[in-house]
Symmetry: C3
Subunit: 480 residues, 3 copies
């Protein structure tokens, strides 16, 4: 595929053979992106006229494109793509007359998020009031245009105040083999300009939360498992920092994050029950939390994956082999044999089996949250997987942790400096979520909640803003 | 992305700024979905007029939308979206005159599959014979419309008898950022209405088959591995229920299901050879079986994944550690050493290696069956992966099971109450499939089969129905 | 979904109910594909006229389609789909008059890549000079048309010299529920015709490279680990061929391939620094290497996955258990105990932890390279993952291999017949890449490189070919 694209790029097929041009497009600016765009448009049968300050000096332009002065070039086409930096927009003021009624396509990006008070596209409107400004192409890179963009993002966000102008730009986008996405009026331009500067915005909260969880439990485990034995028995357990300690932190982080995926849903349900309506906005923190549940869940899956790997390598570790060997040698020398304990075998096998089944369902949830898979299922199926299977996963993983504790669970002997084992702390949030969920599923409460989510209000009074419709039951139950 | 969508939703950019409206759309009914749809359409520059029984009483409507009586509202637009339940369609009868020649968009869903004899859209045609009814939007949820629908299904199935009406509705769908899929005439409406009520219809057969396989082999293994030792030696092996027994059931289920993926293909080939033509429908059971091979394969992969995890935890299990330790102590006390058996090492390493390679190819098959990956490959590549690699996987997994048996395979000493080991039974179907496939690959048979699949018929006679074209060789060889 | 498609296919809804036909399309040839295409188009409301040599004899045609002689059929429609093999195109010469100004859609494929000097579509232009030839549909199979093509490739490559003709064909493609991709003029026809005959062209280089690496290290390891012990101690280690030897080859192949993913990027940077410009083509071998980095990376991930599985089964192996047991028995009998070595525990745990973390990041990279995931991220995010996380993965995996060597690393005692351990050789390329990368990141060099990549040239001189724009920094840093 890439090969094909590449060859057709090299061959310049359309500029030489085509019997008929689609239309003429003007590009102001002969920089990297302007040239790449011109090359791609030439391949798609457009005629290209460059507008330049020094038409004679412009070099490196693709074959088949004309270079003229700004005003000459502008007269040749209805659509003018502004491929210069915002800092140099000033010169457009002088062209106001020529640009009247033309479509100006703003493709610029900034270096920082919210660099200027207004978006570049809105600034362009102020400079050239008579033109129809459309924001587009800023999310596409020069390279993506050249190489066919099969691996990269082919989505082009388009916005503009004039529908017809926007439509014409969207047609060009489509002709270039990209996917136009209408984002409404120019008020969306700021968001569109910030988009390519974002670095996983939805991942920020899950990332910092994971970091805080890891750091807290790291020090907690270091105190309990390294400093305590050292103080009490002068044992050097620092080598535990590589595997044993991480393998305590990761499952705790996984379980906590998984529970935090379901906590905002039950919180929202309680809030709706308390307010007696679904037509009031949730507080912003809850709204944001609800929106990044998918990321929380995937972070939890990452930790669970690490936990699985760290657990499976246990028998390969030198420390484990040495311990097992020496215990065997000691018993062999003493000629004693441990009796087989069926209850220990049961406990041990159960917690492993629960963990495997929980991880299996977790992986299934992760696969279902892949964009191409979630596009294949209908809403009922999506809810079934995310809500039913999701809670089953949480139950299995919580049970896994509980049975892991087994006989030692909450026994005072496992306290060190009054600190319980780390996994006991990890159980607090999941158990809370599961208990609240059970209460919410009681018939009397569930019935009220369902009525509220279908639009019923305890103290019905008209409101005039449709934005609150967002909180539906589907939204609340389907995190990933 | 979600952030951007959200903000642009909150900002209501288009209703305030836009210099030009696209067109006016009328919505009958002011329920949850009607309001969400109106809000989304307002954002996309449409003018919205609500039709309501009590225009004065309607609350919660989005800013910018007008509310009128039904007949007044209908006169304002060519396109009327019917956002009321089918039970309340009756009132439309009175509006027959006003609705003449208009496009009525039926967006309704039912509560049960096949709830009414005819689809809601066809019922609408009967009520308002002069209007052009188009079915659309029923697969989209109110929430998906609000939140940008990036994670959920953006596909909108559209059907209708009038091409132009359908085209206009599809244009609206596209403008809203959704993907319209033309499903033909209104005869497809029933299927489209049933779609959102379906819960993984293609997974039913694989699910029940897996359940039956698991239950059967569970009892088989319980008899052989728990009841038999208990009866014959009073050994309590119940703890085996957690890991040992599942780890016998899962590989058997995986191998059997994988073989059942390829069995319908060879069955169809035999049928075609026997009939001497490809232009006759397969029996329904075979057709359904052929269609759900992908699901069978993925279920098999799930079991294989569980088998891998259950196998890798073996050395962590208390039971295994205890057994190994005690065997070592016994030998140490007796001062004897097992001699190293190269043949055992060979057998043991081979079956593990075969299993790993088989699982690796299986995972590869699974990844290739992801929608976004299978869209990237051409047919030749798809067939290569699904047919060639698929059979290689089956061969490796069958060999893995056979070598696992090793020296004990089919030896009478491994019978318990005349029951052979479970894995011996698991080998029956895979071996059958592989043997038949080998026979079908004999040059003389393969040649005939290829000719039949290219359209040749042994007893050529004209038929008049093109539907049978479906069974091509590609279809039969590429299950996942 | 498939179920729905299937049913709507069986029901022939549109041919019976539709109140209005879209347009008439003519199909020359009544073979398998022609009939499937006709059936699909009938379902989408087109009228179909078949052109046939013997209209009376044609059988198996779908209901609702007319069959006429070639010239009669051609007169009924503007668009004629040529569904005959290239070998039979000759008859079209006689129809030149009738076909004048009509749109001929060439859907043919060949049996071999580059079978004829010119593409079938260009041959058609020569035969019927007055017609507008459009290449389309050749990548779609008859079965994909029938079954709704949801699992298979829905992309239809379209090319043609006449824009309007091409546009009309693309509209048909879209109406059939497929995705048209404009590939420019008919010069692209050859590539399009070769496409369905390709078998993973981008995978050839990674595949052969992997094969060569595996074979080389296989013999290397056989000499060091099987022949050397046999010659020096008459030990039969052939059973190592199943697991031990592969588990040496796979990690080496994984690490080497991963380093080779990043080597062309630094090579290109050196070349750009040396040349002082980015506007000169890279040599062809480097260009091809840069293009198949994703495949190299995925091959490396495959080997890493196998390495992980082969490592995790170690404690299950008979050989390992036997060795551990006998060592324990020997020590128990001798009543000696190994002292616990904290440094060994540190080294051992570190190399395992580094390996797990490296593999985890590697899997993350692999998931991000899934088409549906990489479509969701913007360029900044894509670069962050592929470049930053990619190098971190390489560093972790290299460190894993180095610490694995631990105290024995480069010690002369591990030489056998002057051959160092295989992993030492595997470290050469990764370390080279990392060292060069570090040098390139020195402020003075990095500054020059950045300027070059932004378009600056050391010896500026105008060139006239825009194709060279392709090598941008994004392209070079983001392999997968």
């Amino acid at each position: 595929m890439l090969v094909m694209e590449k060859t057709s790029t090299d061959a310049f097929p359309s500029t030489t053979n085509s019997s008929e041009k689609q239309e003429t497009v003007c590009i102001f600016g002969t920089g990297d992106f302007g040239r790449s765009l011109a090359l791609k448009m030439l391949q798609c049968d457009y005629s290209i006229v460059f507008g330049s300050r020094n038409p004679q000096k412009s070099s490196l332009l693709p074959n088949g494109a004309e270079v003229l002065s700004y005003s000459e070039a502008a007269q040749k086409s209805d659509i003018i793509i502004i491929a210069v930096h915002r800092e140099h927009y000033e010169f457009l003021k002088e062209l106001t007359e020529v640009l009247k009624g033309k479509i100006l396509v703003d493709i610029s990006n900034n270096l920082k998020i919210n660099q200027y008070p207004e978006s570049n596209a809105e600034y362009l409107v102020q400079l050239v009031p008579g033109a129809h400004v459309v924001k587009a192409f800023n999310t596409i890179s020069a390279w993506a245009l050249q190489s066919g963009a099969l691996d990269a993002n082919r989505q082009v966000f388009v916005c503009g105040n004039d529908s017809k102008a926007k439509q014409r730009v969207m047609d060009i986008v489509r002709t270039l083999g990209l996917i136009p996405l209408d984002q409404g009026s120019l008020m969306a331009a700021k968001e569109i300009e910030n988009y390519p500067l974002q670095l996983f915005p939805m991942w920020k909260f899950p990332f910092y939360l994971s970091a805080i969880l890891c750091v807290f439990f790291f020090f907690y485990c270091v105190i309990r498992d390294i400093i305590y034995p050292y103080v009490n028995g002068k044992k050097d357990g620092t080598f535990r920092l590589a595997i044993s300690i991480p393998n305590r932190i990761f499952p705790i982080a996984a379980l906590t994050l998984l529970a935090l995926v379901y906590l905002p849903g039950v919180t929202a349900a309680i809030l709706q029950l308390y307010r007696g309506t679904k037509y009031r906005r949730f507080p912003d923190w809850l709204d944001h939390w609800l929106l990044c549940r998918k990321q929380l869940g995937l972070a939890a899956l990452g930790f669970a994956f690490l936990h699985v790997l760290y657990t499976l390598v246990i028998p390969i570790r030198y420390y484990v082999r040495w311990t097992l060997k020496n215990r065997t040698i000691t018993q062999a020398t003493a000629k004693t044999e441990d009796p087989f304990s069926t209850s220990t075998a049961w406990l041990n096998d159960s917690y492993i089996a629960l963990g495997i089944l929980g991880f299996f369902l977790f992986v299934l949830l992760g696969i279902t949250s892949l964009p191409s898979v979630s596009n294949m299922v209908n809403w009922r199926e999506f809810r079934f997987v995310q809500s039913k299977l999701g809670y089953l996963t949480l139950i299995l993983c919580t049970a896994h942790t509980m049975v892991y504790g087994g006989k030692r669970f909450l026994s005072p002997s496992s306290l060190r400096w009054y600190l319980p084992s780390a996994y006991v702390i990890a159980l607090i949030i999941p158990c809370t979520v599961l208990v609240i969920k059970c209460i919410l599923m009681l018939p009397c409460i569930d019935k009220t909640l369902t009525r509220i989510r279908q639009g019923w209000e305890r103290n019905s009074k008209p409101t005039s803003n449709g934005q609150h419709l967002k909180q539906s039951s589907i939204y609340l139950d389907s995190p990933l």
